[in-house]
């Protein structure tokens, strides 16, 4: 990663719900090819940051660019894995169909997915080990399997930057390992992966880049340089004296 390009740039971003700021003047540069964790306490604005970058939420100030262009012009480069709880898993559809939804962006309005899209979706299912479940109704999948379906749906977009909102929430150990292996493979392919993450213990093991967030940005940089008690204490507000293995 020598002198790499900036994949995502956030300038002076402020986001508020009902005039109460949840993100305050965030400046952030995410270099291309990193596997980055966003950590911070509940209500720190982690999901809000991702949603604002992706244009789902409108900021009251500031700007975001993806490879130097506004998000609207760079949609094809970005894939998003929302929190698993954000959708109704009783929706009448199958695993394969959900993964196919990842191809809709490249199709644009009106045009229907065809054989090419189906093939891409099947390949993505294969990658996450869910091919045997392709015709299963999504409510018949376990939590870990649902998360893998969401991951496959992002993979099928074949993007350059992946945003994931708590992909390890409520999944079993097997799925967690499967997911992190896929994320590491993405980084190897020089993709940028940004993950909202909760488990501080696994940060040094899984990620090479980290952003500490608590309404304001506390720190961002390589895990080996900045993942320390000082930043943890600043972010979580308590004296954070757990020595985490690096």
């Amino acid at each position: 990663m020598s002198k790499s390009k900036i994949a995502v740039q956030v300038d002076d971003l402020t986001v508020a719900y009902n005039y109460k700021p949840v993100l305050w003047d965030i400046d952030l540069e995410i270099p291309e090819g990193v596997l980055m964790a966003i950590v911070g306490p509940n209500g720190a604005g982690k999901s809000t940051l991702i949603k604002s970058i992706l244009g789902i939420l409108k900021p009251i100030a500031g700007s975001v660019s993806i490879y130097g262009q506004p998000y609207e012009k760079q949609r094809d480069l970005v894939a998003y894995v929302p929190q698993k709880g954000s959708v109704d898993w009783d929706f009448p559809t199958t695993a394969l169909d959900v993964v196919m939804m990842g191809t809709y962006g490249s199709l644009g309005w009106i045009k229907r997915p065809g054989q090419k899209e189906k093939k891409a979706a099947l390949e993505a299912l294969e990658k996450v080990g869910m091919l045997p479940f392709k015709n299963r109704q999504i409510s018949q999948l376990s939590g870990g399997q649902q998360q893998r379906i969401f991951l496959a749906r992002a993979l099928v977009q074949d993007a350059s930057i992946y945003f994931m909102d708590e992909p390890f929430q409520g999944v079993d150990a097997t799925t967690e390992i499967a997911i992190i292996n896929i994320l590491k493979a993405l980084r190897k392919a020089n993709k940028t992966v940004i993950v909202v993450h909760h488990d501080l213990q696994t940060v040094p093991e899984y990620f090479d880049w980290v952003t500490f967030l608590n309404v304001k940005k506390i720190a961002t940089g390589p895990v080996k340089d900045i993942f320390n008690d000082d930043n943890l204490t600043k972010t979580y507000g308590i004296n954070y004296k757990v020595s985490i293995q690096k």
Binding site: N18, P92, T93, M101, Y104, W109, P132
Partner: protein
């Protein structure tokens, strides 16, 4: 059948189809009550339109009424956005207010015309064949038939064009937004179609039946399928079935057509609710009973596997030891024997090879939750069907 009878059934069926399509998406978006709100609050739009055009079949009337429908949705959302009241409360505040404006307008100004509150609530399906559409003096059928036919055509065309977008934004609005399919555009598109359909169906079947035709067929179909396309198709079939059977029920009882169609919708839902193969009440009860027996069987087999000493495996001992009633022990014992999982010699129960393998596999599955290991057992055991 007279031609009037055929025309009534045709109008009712087209209304049913036109309602079932947006209705399916409203049900999936958990917005069923919005259709109730729209159906009532379009009244002031209809009345104002009538004052302007003095013609109940004017397109302007439909446009104005549909606009009131969309305004209703906007008002509900704005009130909800304040965070002071929940969505259902907001709905309950908005539509009675708009509806009552309509009622007052009628009472003040339109007492002498054919626009009365009864007709608005219950419709006049039986009279629809009398209101003909004449083009240069030639009778080309009932006006209602043409209006609803035209609306249905637009609805079907929109459904085919935007099926993908509707599905995506209904399932995952966040992803739709990031992929560039504005959920707001799709949302208001659906609301506009729902409003127009409501207006078009309104005169024929009334405000109450419109709601039933939107929600009941979709809710019934939801219990029967796990595929969105099949759900749409089933909703349409249920809607048309209720429309036609309801018409004949009304004919036979000499009662209101609208009321009879709604009754058929209710009966249909109730039957499916009871007998649907996997989501129906009876199927669920049966499955729970099977699961209970299977858990007992597994407990029993596990006990046998864990205890090699004969005293623990004596028939009489098992009864008191696992602490089951005699009947339950007997059922489980017979089930295990029937499946060749146990052998009984001199009142001592032991696992057969098959029983032993099954127990190992089942325990393994329960511990690891790895689906692949259990695929072939699913056909025989409810317990593992998730």
């Amino acid at each position: 059948m007279s031609s009037a009878q055929i025309e009534i059934q045709l109008i009712a069926s087209l209304v049913a189809i036109a309602c079932a399509i947006p209705g399916t998406f409203l049900v999936l978006r958990k917005m069923a009550m919005i259709s109730d709100a729209i159906s009532h609050s379009i009244l002031p739009g209809l009345v104002v339109g009538f004052f302007i055009t003095e013609n109940l079949n004017s397109p302007l009337l439909i446009v104005l009424a549909a606009l009131t429908g969309v305004i209703t949705v906007v008002l509900v959302e704005q009130i909800q956005k304040t965070g002071l009241v929940k969505e259902d409360t907001a709905i309950g505040l908005v539509f009675p207010a708009l509806f009552s404006i309509g009622v007052i307008l009628i009472a003040k100004n339109a007492n002498d015309v054919h626009l009365d509150v009864d007709a608005v609530l219950l419709g006049e399906l039986a009279f629809t064949p009398f209101d003909r559409l004449l083009i240069s003096g030639v009778d080309i059928g009932p006006k209602s038939l043409w209006i609803i036919g035209f609306i249905l055509l637009i609805t079907v065309a929109l459904l085919f064009a935007f099926f993908k977008e509707l599905k995506l934004s209904t399932f995952d609005a966040g992803l739709a937004a990031t992929l560039g399919f504005s959920p707001a555009v799709i949302h208001y598109g659906l609301m506009t179609v729902s409003s127009i359909t409501t207006v078009g169906a309104f005169e024929a079947v009334g405000a109450i039946l419109v709601v039933a035709l939107m929600i009941a067929p979709a809710a019934t179909a939801y219990l029967l399928t796990t595929d969105l396309k099949k759900m749409l198709l089933l909703s349409i079939i249920f809607g048309v079935f209720s429309a036609i059977s309801g018409y004949w029920l009304a004919h036979w009882l000499d009662a209101s057509i609208a009321g009879s169609i709604t009754t058929m919708l209710g009966v249909l839902f109730f039957v499916v609710y009871l007998f649907a193969p996997s989501k129906g009440v009876i199927a669920v009860m049966y499955r729970e009973k099977q699961q209970k027996i299977e858990v007992s069987l597994l407990t029993f087999l596990l006990h046998l596997k864990n205890h090699t000493e004969e005293s623990e495996r004596h028939v009489n001992h098992l009864n008191e030891h696992i602490n089951w009633q005699k009947v339950r022990s007997k059922t489980v014992l017979e089930l295990a024997q029937k499946n060749n999982m146990i052998a009984i010699n001199n009142h001592i129960v032991s696992l057969t090879k098959k029983g032993d393998e099954f127990t190992t596999l089942a325990i393994d599955y329960i511990m690891t939750n790895e689906d692949a290991q259990i695929e072939d057992m699913k056909d025989d055991f409810f317990l593992f069907r998730g």
